[in-house]
Each structure stands twice: as structure tokens, then as C-alpha cells.
Subunit: 632 residues, 3 copies
């Protein structure tokens, strides 16, 4: 468990490097990430390399005692690369070019650009792959940030046709799989298929889903190309830094080629900008962030990283990109780091060392102010560094597994059927419910064949069962809504869903509900947004008599989207069935169990009497925005 | 009065057709509509025809006892047609192409496409025009759906110039009619005129209105071209299936070339997606639909069809395209059909037979589920079929005529002057008021020279008087607001509006009102959204003393948009003046008189004591979502 | 102090001109503006001039006793100019052309168009520059209306590169100034720089700011080109008519080349369409306009005009372009004119004489209705004309100076950091606070080196101090928030802001606040939207202990955006420190001091007892929407 920081030697006079490095070490930081946007300084013209400054930077940092994470600069191809490859830009869905002048200005399908990316990665690998100070690599930066997964360029169209041909073999197979007979949409050959934009009304959802699968594969392909270039040149782990609530590509697929997953955690920006919470909740947690959002992603990326994961960028103070960017409450820069460690992070790196006084992110805080005075987070980082030695986290397996599947996110984005039906929102609602019960959770990918490690498994909204090991699973299973409701080709299966072995239920039809029209359940709470008309013997019915849940206490299918009350009730019942102890945590207080430790994390703006809410906790109170841990 | 259903033999294995047909007959269905999206199966390559499967389908259905409505498949030109005519796509107002991949992907002005459409229609006519099972034809499908009337393509620009030249003769006449001197917008010749998109600020409203007239004419032209191709080949009636609340083309003009009007009635989708009702009303009727929306369109299309009209597609269960798609309340699939018959429908066809498990509409219910089990609507359809024999509806003339004019809709869309001023909304508000009084209504086109059949005529928002027979009319006339306020060229007339013979009123000026700022009337209620400063002797004044209504009890001009209270009061007073009996119907309960029958239709989620609300009704209650009829 | 009117002889039969002119004179109007949209009538084909009608119009008007303002018609190039220069259209930020069909359809950077504009201006100058009836000139019309300052055309790109080269000399200097190292955005030569649109995420704010500076310079350049053409040909003053709340170009820079500033004042449209006021305030003043909006612009354009300014277009009745366009309350057409004179206007011209019955503005009221009957404003104008002789306004210097800087508006638009941070809104909030205290205000440009004329100077949100004479200023100074927070290159200065001499404050960091989360101040009121964490000795702190104001009573820096309560308190305290008497004016009542006169202006819909609110006022009440003036 180590702290680190992101640093840009190219932003500062060389004279300042040594002092910066010394101060990092003094703070207790160990990792320093550099290089990921520096292409124009490394190769200002094609073939005109300027490695020397980076050589010196690595040396200064390394000799100060820091370990370097070296980034490949492929998220920001310089102007000359764009001139050389005029087709490398992505096009948006309207057909407008997404050009030079910020970052991530490339289409994943452009062969010329992939060549340039591999070339610069290889050259960096050759120069630094065996450098003893370089202990890890970051490939590219924040895939998918700024909505950059989908490109409607010519390069993408050509690649999509190849991808389809590889998938389907014949155009007849594609026409069948998509049901193109529906509106005379049948193709005669693959060359007739276009990208699913600029249609008169919605395109075929099977077409859309395949385009999303293809686009995700293109991300994995470009990432893999860099991996293949670097692997022979270094033994250090290869990492990518993902973002929060980006579902446009399959992180598990990208992660499969990497050694460690990492993510960039900006709790306050994410709450303000990417949350479905009501405004009142956003207001209440405006200075601390959503109490579950970080934990969810920690658990997600632990799965993506096959157990190994970092926070590569940790918010240190106000950011610059949300609609509102308040100052974090004192203590949050410490709390966020500790929460990551409680979820098994190997490293937490603050972004960034010193606030840059220029360009797009000049209003983004760092550990230092632009005048090099310490910002509040520096002291909090130092405190974490001093607290770390006493704790060793072994993650182990959580009692509950929650399935999260990117393909399902694409499916329901293509066909929400109700305005509020968003897959992330649905899964995250279940996650929040589990957390409020005090349960620790593992995120489980859809191809997990063996679910036996978990006492309880929750599967909301899984498009199709695929390889998920539900058949053999003997723990407590809660599935639905919408789980199993499509074939892999995005058709409705016959016999009708859910097709869950051991549960004699049929989804006769579904309805999406206005937000003001939930359907009350007979045992309390309601279904909101989504409700299925189930056939079968009801475990519980809605007040109108339609079965709401079918199956048994240990294996049930849930025909709707539970509101908070129903969610807590249903999950608590299932957890108790699984032999798990549950809590009833107040707003903002959360628990995380990791090996022998139990952590309490308080996102609330008030203190709580710990023992009252968490039996077995030490006596005394946990302060506002404070963390506490003890041996359980 | 017959029931029917929409069927897609090309979606199902041929083995299933006979069983499907038998089950349709058993349900009591008589009509079956087929073929309207099947072009790629009929002609997968240019000139490569595959009629045989359709021959067999017609035979199977016909021999089972069904009558076939054959659709021309021109709403979905296959991919090869688009390759052959690369300019056939419409462009949207931003200049973006609206391409292949869904439906309605053609520009009405494209000559090449018109040729293809006529060709396939003629070929189908030649093959099936005299087939004894084919008893009606549908041309194309849902003109205007997905906002497809306006195209800004090169083909449209060329055709628009020809249209203008034909209308104006000289460019000087056009410049005069449009007032192009205003901002130096004068043209030297027709070749200089562009379509009214991509201007810096709003284009000249006369330019816009002519573009809308032209666009409407192009719809009529393409429809007429198919009519001319089919007429010599069949004696069966020609039909088009219109939609709800689509005002972008003149349905009367299209209808003039056809034998029967029909429309596609999706009450719940329309309420959720195309209604101005407050959210609370949308919530209340979310499972039944707006109590007046269907009736309005029934009356409208009865007029468009010169008395002959159908519901070609009737919602059977949840649809897939509104923001929320709940399940209809039990009984609605019966109620909707009965309401159509009460308004004089010759046929009601449910859409569709079996829910398709693939492509865009896989979440759209049918009479059967995808697994061929009966959905709830199947039983309701069977019930209607069993009830029909006892009732014969003769529509006759309604006591009230309400003028509805597409050109006025275009005019006020071009120049709303107030954010809420929408012509459909205005007319529909008057319609709702009449319905709440228990009055049956005929929709009257703007060129109706003889208004004497109606005891009372209401004319809200009619752009200019044109050929409407108001001068000679001796019944009770309620006109305004905005009626007569433009010339045919979209200029303000001098003398000032309304120019209504027999009413000494002048609209000195107008004002559009914030929704929170209605103008109260001295006798109760208020004007909302729109108020005119009238000069003349007041029949009633606003509380600020400005005349609100001018004229006499039998012939009045109304200088504003009445809110619900004022609307009911003013219309009741006029109806009484016309010697009509009025009711005061509670929310959701409606009455329709048709010949000797009186129908009561209950959209509400509760029952009512019939006799209390409708004098002369049979004793007893009408249930929630139920229908009742009796001899009056 | 003279009244006038806008007139379009080309819209009316020549027979009507003389009668119109006589009626204008009879009303008491003196100025008549003509010609500014008449290009297609003056030169219908290139080189085919038709001056004669305009000659006659000038003669008829002049001989009736009117003084003509002659407009150059360059806001509406006719169709043939566009055909001749196909590249003259601006492109919007999406790259869509903004074409012919309304007005302002030219890109300021297009050399060919500038040539045409200069040519027509010179020809008009040659013909009318010495005509004794032509006493003033208006150049073009409403620069910036319809969002027309920014163009992303090829012509703009070429000109921008030249502008950058002139500013920076070398590409290295540009890369440094912009901090292009940040995301490898470095350029190798000026030809590589594009306009800052169509980027993946936000472009570099320095890039954006320079584009805005450039775009503003292009406006000044085109205006100057016409000025240079006209200067040798006439001695009459040259004027442009600006708009309300348009900040996209530097009006001071344009005004520097002109003799008189003028603006087009549409109080009700501006309140409905361009105001940040809550809906409740918009509702309350829907028939009169914002009580401070006109005054602000009067003071602004008095500064832009170096003391000489007009209202070139005054709203006379309902307009046609806001979301809602109600009728002004009786008296407002008089009140608005008097308020302008109270702020020093030399002329107020109503727009327009007679309502045009055709084209885009046919719903825009005039002094006459389309049928030539007097609209209400005609009588009010006549009343003003009859009242004017008794009053002579000498503006003098106001007690308070308020700095308004267009460059700061561009800076904060490029980097708001909080959704509500709009520079105009911020400055206008301070202006409103000063007005509610009864203080008269001068607007001060950012390059004003000598601030000594004002007893108190207020500087909210000034991007950088530049040449503003704050150092030597000895009056009461209230600066901030955000003042001095950037360098001229749009970088953060080190040492950190505010860098205000004599105030030992440091802005350690800033935060933008949700609208529902203001930060309360210990002496009452709160900061909303924006709050800075200040270091230094607090003059006042927020309730959380962070200094809110630093400095002394006579020279302070304010670290936030005060809400109404805090604003009034802080400004009152400062005004008292400056020895100024303050009032506490009720909603809608305002005071303006001009030389020996004190004016009271009542925007409220009720009367007030004058002496109760304004000590020294004459006894009695001021009516709703009335004006009162007395010797002070």
C-alpha cells in the first residue's frame, strides 16, 4: 500500500525537479507517474527525438527515492501526427470531425494512428523498459473520456465491415441475426453495411449492439498493440487508468491484457456530473462525494485487475470540469485514500503534484498550489503515509458477488424502453442497497463460470446468461429485472425470459413506468421505472396481484426495479438467508471488511456513535469525514 | 364494422401461416394487412422478383376466410434502391443526411425514387389487383412519421424552385408576396431561392409557409403517383394509414386521391409523447390514453376520408417508442375499438398479430406474445367481435363543426409569437371543451363552403378565411383567436383582422402571455398564452376592461385562448344558443352520439353512475375503462 | 434631447411619404433613421444603382423638417453579393454555413465582403455626405445580433493566423503564452493553428481567449473600414447601434472610431429573453422590463460614446422575438424615453414608424398600426416631446464608477468554472445593488488610468488589472471576486491573485457553489455561486471562518459573489465610507441624478409615496410606470 503522485517535469523548469522530488519523498509518496502527455516534447517533429530531458527527469526522481510510472503519450498525438494522417480523427454521430486542440483526438480504428502509437510505445520501451527507476507503465490515458469510444469515421466503417465479416461469415447470417427482414433492411454484401448513425429513426438494436461490441474491441485492440510492443522490453507491470462510470467499452477485455487495473477517482466531480442521485443528495454530499460511487469502482477495478488495482489519479482539491467545483471538506483527501486501501488498492496517486497555472486544467487543484505552497491535501497525504505502516490489507473474497456486464449496458442503452432505464444506475442501486446493509461486495464479470466463492450473488439486468455459472450455483441468488431477456444477437428468446434454471417464471410482458407512477409491493416499497408481468407462483406480489418475485428464498427472480425501501427489504432477506449479518447504516456511514480489518468510513458531515450502528466497533464516535479501522 | 390485424408472413416460417390464419378467423378478425415493409423480400435485387411467397401467403390467408389489405412497400426502399439513387435520402435542417438503416429514408421530391415507387406499386397491382382475396390497398406507410415531411436535399431545392415558379409566375410577384424588400432579401430569378434552412436568424415566414405548402404538395404528389399506377389495376379501395398529431402535410389533400382514410392509433404512446397535458393528467391516464385524443382523430380522419375511415393499426398492449411504455389497463383494447366504431370506423385492425422477437419493434406488443401465447388484447378483440353484430352505426352529421386547417398549423409554427402557441393544441383545447359538454363533433376543412349542416361552428386560429362559408352561415359561430389574421401570402391584412363579416371587431394588437400570467375575464376564467386587444363593442371584457369577445351570442369573435373554465363557459353558452343540450361530464367519461345510438366511454380508472351524468342513460354504473351504448 | 423614429420609405408607396413625414413632425419627432436594410433597392444588380428614390425620400423628410440618420445597408448584403463572394458566409461552431435568407449573413473576416461594404458606404457618402438633411450616419446595424461575432469559416481561419503572427511574432512565443506543452498541443508554425471549434473536449482557454480577441478586432476592423470611407465625405457624426447584453466584441474598441454610441433598447424582450432574474421577477415586470437593465446600458454606452450617446431604437409596443411578447403597460413608452434622457441621451428614436405587415417582423409594433391608426406609443411619444423643453440634462460625473470589461466576459465564458459564473450577470448584480441604494453610476473601461473622478470604484471579476489606475486611486475601492486572477495570456499569476496593491490578500483556492449551497457570511447574507478561500487578515469572515473580505473599509478585496442581502450591506458600507448618501429603494422604484436634476422612475405596477423613499422629493405619490423629476 503506497502513495504516489502525478508529475509533469515538462511543465516546470528543470532546476525545480530535484526540490520537487525531495518534497514528494518527504511527504511519504513513493510512486510518481510521468510522461503521458509529453509526445510533442519527446518528438516535436517526426523522427526528431528529444529523450534527454526525460532521461534526466527519471534520474532525478529515481535518485530521490521515487519509483516511476512511465506513461505512453498516445492520448495526445502531436499536430504533426495529425497532419501526416489526416483521417485519424474520429467523427461524431452527426458526422462532425473531432479535431486537434485538446486530447483523445484519434479514432481507435485508424491503422495509421495505431502504427504511430505502437512505434512511440516501442521506442519508449526500448529506452526505459529496463531503467531501474521505472517500475510500472501506464498505457495511454483514460480510454473513453470525453465520449471517445464511438467514432463514425471512414476508418471505423471499413473496420466495422471486417469485424462483421469475421463474426458472421456470411451476409445471410448477419441478416438473420439482426432480423433485417423487419423493415427491408437486408444487405446483399458486407460492403453495404454502414455505421448505425444518421438514420431516420432508431437503427436496428442488433446493429447498434454489434457496433458497440466492435467499438469496444477496437479499444482492446489498440491497447493490446501497445502491450505487445512493450512486453518484450520491460518486466514492469502494464497498467491503464480507467475512469468512473464509463461503460462504452468492456474494461474486462482491456484488463485481460494488462497486469494491474487503475482508475482516476474524482468523487466530487463524479457526484456533480455523473450521478442519478436527487439534487438534495448531491447538495448534501457536495464536499465529499457519493458514499458508494468510489467503493463501487474500487470493487469493479479490483475485478478488472484480477485482484491487482490502483487509484492512479486521486482528487486532491477542487477540480475544474464539473458544473460546480467546491472545495472538499477537510479530511476527504485522507478518507478517499484510506477507502481505496480498504478495498485492496496497491497504490493511490494524487493528481497532481503542483497545480498548473496554464492551459485547460489551470483550475484543477494539486497537492501544491501554483506558487508551490502546500495545498490542504498535501498534509492529508502525509498523514495517510504515516498511518499506512500499521495496516496490511488482504482483500480475500467478499460475501456477496454482484454481476456487472458491459454488454448489458450497451444493450439497454440501445433499447432502454423506459427513459430511466440505465444499466449502471440499476446495478449501482443494488450496490448501494448492499452497502447500506454493511455488506462487502465483489464485482463479478458475466463470464464467471464458478460462483461458488460467494454466499450470495446478485444479477440485475444481465442481458443474457451466457457463461455465467448460475446453473450450478448453490448460494443465494437474486436475479432480475431484465436478466436473460435477450439472446446474444439481441433478439427475444423463446421460450420467454428469464430462462433461469430452477425458477419457474415467465416474463409475459414488461412495462416501463413514469417516475411518478411506481407500482407498490404488498410487503412494502415499490417497483419504480420498470415492472414485469410475471407468470408463476409468487414469492411476493405487487399490490395489484401481479407476481413481483418468483422462486424461493435462495433463488429468486425479481420482476422490477426496487425502490429504496423494497431494495433494502429484499436484499436483507436474501442476505439473512445466506447467513450474512446485516446492518442498517445511516446516511453517509459505510463499512468495508478486508481480511482481518473492518473499516468504517464516514462521508457524512456529522459524527456518529460507532458502536450504535456497527456492533463490535470500538467505543467512541467517528468524526465527520473520518475513517476508523479495527481488527474484527 | 369489422376487426382486423396486421401480419408479416415474411417474419415467420411458412408452416405457421395456416395456423395463424385459422386463429385470426377464430378470434373474429376479418381484415389482415400485409406486405408494407417487404420490398427486400419481393425484389432483393433490381428486377429479381420473388412473388411466389407472397402469392402463397395471400392464398393461405384468403382461403382461411380473411380479406387482405395489401400494402405497397415504399416506406422502406431496400439497400439497392439507395445505391442506385444516391441522392434519394432526405437531408435534415442542418444538412445532415438521413440515411439507410431504419425506415422512411427517402426525400419526397426525388424523381428517381418516385419512379421506383411507382414501378413497384404497378407491379404489385398487376399481380394482386384482381386477386379476389385482396380487398383493399394501403399505399406506403405513415407519411410524416419520424419527422420526414421536410427535406433540405438538392432534389427538394430544385423541386421547390419549380413549384415557386408555377405559383408566382415571376420573381417580382414572389418578392412582393413575401415582402422581400424587408431585409434586402429580394431575388433576381428563381434559381436564387434556397430552402429556408441554415439562415442566420429566422427566415421570412412567407418563405417558410411556401416551403411547407410545397412539402405537403410533394407528399400528395408521390401518393397520387401510386394511386394513378394502381387505379387501372384494381377496384379495391385505396387507403393510407395516417398518424396522430402529424400536421406537416395536408391530409385532406392526400385524402382527396384516396377512397378511405385510416390512422394508426396508439393512445398511450401519444399521451406520453405528443400531449400538452400537464404531467398530472399524463400520470392519471397513463394506462388508458387521453380521453379526447383518439376521438379527435377519428373525427378528423372521417372528414379526410369523406366519411369512410378505418383504424389501420390499433395499440394492443405496451408499445416500444414512448418515454414510458406501461401496460394498458384491462379493457382498453376493447374500449379503443368500440370508440372507433362509435365514431364511424368501418374497420379496426390491431397492430400486430404476433410480437416480433427481433429488430426495432421487438418490445412492441401484439395480440400474441412472441411464444404465440395469447396476450391480453386477443381476448378483448374476440369480445369486441362477439359484440359487434348487435350494433350498426350510422354516423350522420354532428351538431357541432370544428374547423381544422393544416395550413394554419404551418403558419403558426412559422410564427408562434408566443412559446405555447401551437395550432393543434389550440384546436384540441376547443375540441376537449366541446367533448366535456357531451357534444359530438365533425371536423371541417377550411375550404368547406357550406356550413349549414352544423348548428354550431367553431373556428379557432384559422390563418385566413379563404373559402370557408362563414359569410352565409346562419348557425352559431364562434371564431378566433387569430382567425383571419393573415393573407394567403402570410401578410397582415389591412383593414386589420379579424375581417369576419357581421362582427364589428378590430384586432388592434396582440400579446402572447407567459404561462404564469393569464388575463382574467370578467365572467370567469381567463385567457392564457394569447390575448388580443380588441376594438368594438364587448360581448364580454377582460377584467382590465379590454373587450374579450365581440359580436352577438350567435356570431362572435373571441380575442384570446380560453383556459378550461372560460372555455367551458363560452362553449356552453354558444351551444345553448344553438339549441344543443349540454352535459357536464366528469374526468374521463365521454359521450358519442352516432345515429340512433348513444355511446358512453369511460377512460377513467373508476366507475360512474351513468344516469347521474348522462340524463337518459340506462340505470346502473359504467365500470372503469368500460363502454356502454343504448338507443337514444 | 430630441425624439426620433426609424422609417423605411422603401416599404411604403411613395405617395405616403409626405403624410408620414408631416405626422412625425406633428408628433414632435426630429430624427428619422432610414436606409439601413435597403441595399437590394439601391443596387439590385452589381453596379446598377437606383439612388433616385432615396434622393426623393431624403428630400421629402428633410423638407418636412426632419433630420435624417442615414444607415449604410451592410448588415444585409443582397443575394448577388453572396453569389459573387461564395465564401462570405460565416460558419457556426459545428461547421454549418449561416446562409442567405435573413440578415447579418457575412463573416467579418471576409476580405471580399469588406471590399463590398466599403464600396457601398463610400458611394452613399459621396451621394449624401453633404446633403443638408442628412445630419448623422449609422454604420451597419446591431453588430453581434443573432450570435454573429464568431465565425469558423476559412476566411476567419486565415485571418486568425495572421492576427496571431502579428501578436506573437514567433510560434514559440505562442506555444509559451498558451501553455501548449500541456497536452502536446504545441504548433510548429502558425499555419498549423486552427480555430478553437470541433475539438474533442474543451480547447485551451488561451486559444479561446485569443480567438475572441481576434473576433472582436475583426468587428472593429470592418467598422473602421466604413468609417475611413465616410470620414472624408461628411461632417455628420458616425454612429453604430449596439444591442443589449451582447459582450462578444469590445464595444469600447468599436466606439473609439465613432462619434456617438447608440443602442437598441427593447426592455421587455430583454427581460424575457436575456435575463438571469428568477421567473417570479420576470412575471412581475413582464409589462415594463427590468428596472436596471436599461439604465446599465445607458451608462455603458455613455462611456462607449465618450459621453455622447443615443437610443437608436426604442421599443414602442409588443415585439416579435421573445418567448412571450406582452403589451407594455400604459406609460412605459414615455418612461423608457425619459429614463434615457435622465442618463444623458441626446436622442431617443422609436422603432419603428409604422408596423410592417410583411416579412419577419410583421408582429413587431410601431408607433402606427399597419392600418396607419395611432398605436398607444404615438401619444406617449408626443407627450415626451411636449415635456422635453422644460428640462436640460447635464450628465457630469456620477459618484460611483463600475468597471466593465469585455475581455473579462470572454475569459469567464471560456472558463466559468461554475455553471452560473457569467461576467455580465456578476457586474449587473453589483450595478443593481448600487441602484437600489439610489446611487448613480458611471461605467468605466478597463484601461481607465485615472479613477480619481469617482468617490467610489467597484471592480468585480476583472480578469487582470492591466492599465486600470487602481494603484494611485485614493477613493473607496471594492474589488473582486476573481479580479486580477489571470495574466493577459490567460494564465494564473504567481504570486497568486488578487495582486491588488495595498491589500495583503492571497486567493489560496476558489470554489464554485451549487445554487442551493450558498456560504453564509458572519455579518449577514451569503456568497453564492462563487467563493474564494482567502488568506490574510479578515475584514469580515464567512461563518466557516474563512476570510470573506480583506483590506480596509476604503480598499477591500471581496472573495465571493454576494447575494442580495450581502451585496446591499457591503455596498452601503462602502458608499457611506465614501461619504455618499444611500437610500433603500423599494422594488421597481429607481433614482437617477443628472446635473441639477433628480429623476425618479417607477417600473412598479403600483404607486409610491415619493418622500417616504426619497428624502427631498416633492410631496405626493409617483404613479405606476410614471416618471418624476425635480431640482435637487
Amino acid at each position: 500500500m503506497k502513495l504516489g503522485v502525478c508529475y509533469y517535469p515538462e511543465h516546470w523548469p528543470e532546476e525545480q525537479w530535484a526540490e520537487d522530488a525531495a518534497r514528494m519523498v518527504e511527504t511519504g509518496l513513493i510512486w510518481v507517474r510521468i510522461g503521458e502527455f509529453a509526445w510533442s516534447r519527446l518528438e516535436p517533429e517526426e523522427g526528431d527525438f528529444r529523450w534527454e530531458w526525460l532521461d534526466r527527469a527519471v534520474k532525478v526522481l529515481g535518485e530521490a527515492g521515487l519509483q516511476v510510472v512511465m506513461g505512453t503519450p498516445t492520448a495526445t498525438p502531436p499536430r504533426w501526427v495529425c497532419e501526416k494522417h489526416p483521417g485519424l480523427f474520429a467523427l461524431d454521430k452527426h458526422g462532425h470531425v473531432r479535431g486537434f486542440g485538446s486530447r483523445r483526438h484519434y479514432c481507435f480504428s485508424h491503422d495509421g494512428y495505431r502504427g504511430e502509437a505502437v512505434r512511440i510505445a516501442r521506442l519508449m520501451g526500448e529506452r526505459y523498459g529496463r531503467n531501474s527507476h521505472v517500475q510500472a507503465w501506464q498505457i495511454d490515458n483514460e480510454y473513453g473520456c470525453h465520449d471517445t469510444i464511438y467514432s463514425y469515421s471512414d476508418a471505423a466503417a471499413v473496420a466495422f465491415r471486417q469485424w462483421l465479416e469475421a463474426r458472421y461469415g456470411s451476409i445471410e447470417a448477419l441478416n438473420d441475426a439482426w432480423g433485417n427482414v423487419f423493415w427491408s433492411m437486408e444487405y446483399r454484401h458486407f460492403g453495404e453495411v454502414f455505421l448505425p448513425n444518421l438514420t431516420v429513426t432508431e437503427p436496428n438494436p442488433s446493429h447498434v449492439l454489434d457496433f458497440k461490441r466492435f467499438s469496444s474491441d477496437q479499444v482492446a485492440r489498440l491497447n493490446r498493440a501497445q502491450v505487445l510492443a512493450l512486453r518484450p522490453l520491460t518486466d514492469a507491470p502494464l497498467i491503464h487508468n480507467y475512469m468512473g462510470r464509463i461503460v462504452e467499452f468492456d474494461h474486462f477485455a482491456v484488463g485481460a491484457d494488462l497486469d494491474i487495473a487503475s482508475w482516476d477517482s474524482y468523487p466530487m466531480g463524479f457526484l456533480e456530473d455523473r450521478s442519478d442521485q436527487p439534487e438534495e443528495v448531491k447538495r448534501r454530499f457536495a464536499r465529499s462525494g457519493d458514499p458508494d460511487f468510489q467503493a463501487f469502482h474500487h470493487d469493479l477495478y479490483r475485478a478488472v485487475g484480477k485482484g491487482r488495482w490502483w487509484v492512479m489519479e486521486q482528487q486532491p482539491g477542487p477540480v475544474n470540469w464539473a458544473p460546480h467545483n467546491p472545495d472538499p471538506a477537510p479530511g476527504m483527501a485522507r478518507l478517499w485514500a484510506w477507502e481505496a486501501f480498504a478495498h485492496g488498492a496497491e497504490a493511490v496517486c494524487y493528481f497532481r503534484w503542483r497545480q498548473a497555472p496554464f492551459a485547460q486544467e489551470q483550475m484543477h487543484a494539486g497537492l501544491l498550489r501554483p506558487d508551490s505552497v502546500a495545498a490542504p491535501a498535501l498534509g492529508e497525504a502525509a498523514q495517510v503515509a504515516s498511518e499506512l505502516p500499521g495496516v496490511e490489507v488482504e482483500t480475500g473474497t467478499a460475501p456477496v458477488g454482484l454481476v456487472f456486464d458491459y454488454e448489458s449496458a450497451w444493450a439497454w442503452a440501445a433499447q432502454p424502453q423506459g427513459a430511466e432505464f440505465d444499466y449502471f444506475r440499476l446495478v449501482f442501486d443494488f450496490y448501494r442497497g448492499l452497502r447500506r446493509l454493511g455488506l462487502s461486495v465483489d464485482i463479478v464479470p458475466r463470464d464467471c463460470a464458478d460462483l461458488s466463492p460467494w454466499k450470495m450473488v446478485v444479477v440485475p439486468g444481465l442481458m443474457h446468461w451466457g457463461d455465467l455459472g448460475v446453473d450450478a450455483y448453490e448460494g443465494v441468488l437474486v436475479a432480475g429485472p431484465r436478466s436473460g431477456s435477450k439472446t446474444a444477437d439481441f433478439q427475444m428468446p423463446v421460450p420467454l425470459p428469464p430462462g433461469l434454471p430452477g425458477v419457474a417464471a415467465t416474463v409475459a410482458r414488461v412495462e416501463s413506468l413514469r417516475a411518478d407512477s411506481p407500482v407498490p409491493l404488498e410487503d412494502g416499497g415499490a417497483f419504480r421505472f420498470w415492472r414485469e408481468v410475471l407468470e408463476g407462483e409468487a414469492l411476493e406480489a405487487a399490490e395489484d396481484g401481479v407476481p413481483a418475485r418468483i422462486g424461493t428464498a435462495r433463488r429468486q427472480y425479481l420482476g422490477g426495479w426496487p425502490d429504496d425501501e423494497a431494495m433494502m427489504r429484499i436484499l436483507r432477506e436474501a442476505a439473512e438467508e445466506a447467513g450474512l449479518e446485516t446492518l442498517d447504516l445511516p446516511e453517509g456511514l459505510r463499512v468495508r471488511d478486508a481480511g482481518k480489518w473492518r473499516f468504517a468510513i464516514n462521508y457524512a458531515d456529522r459524527s456518529w456513535k460507532l458502536g450504535k450502528h456497527i456492533p463490535g466497533a470500538p467505543s467512541g464516535r467517528i468524526g465527520a469525514h473520518d475513517v476508523s479501522w479495527w481488527l474484527r
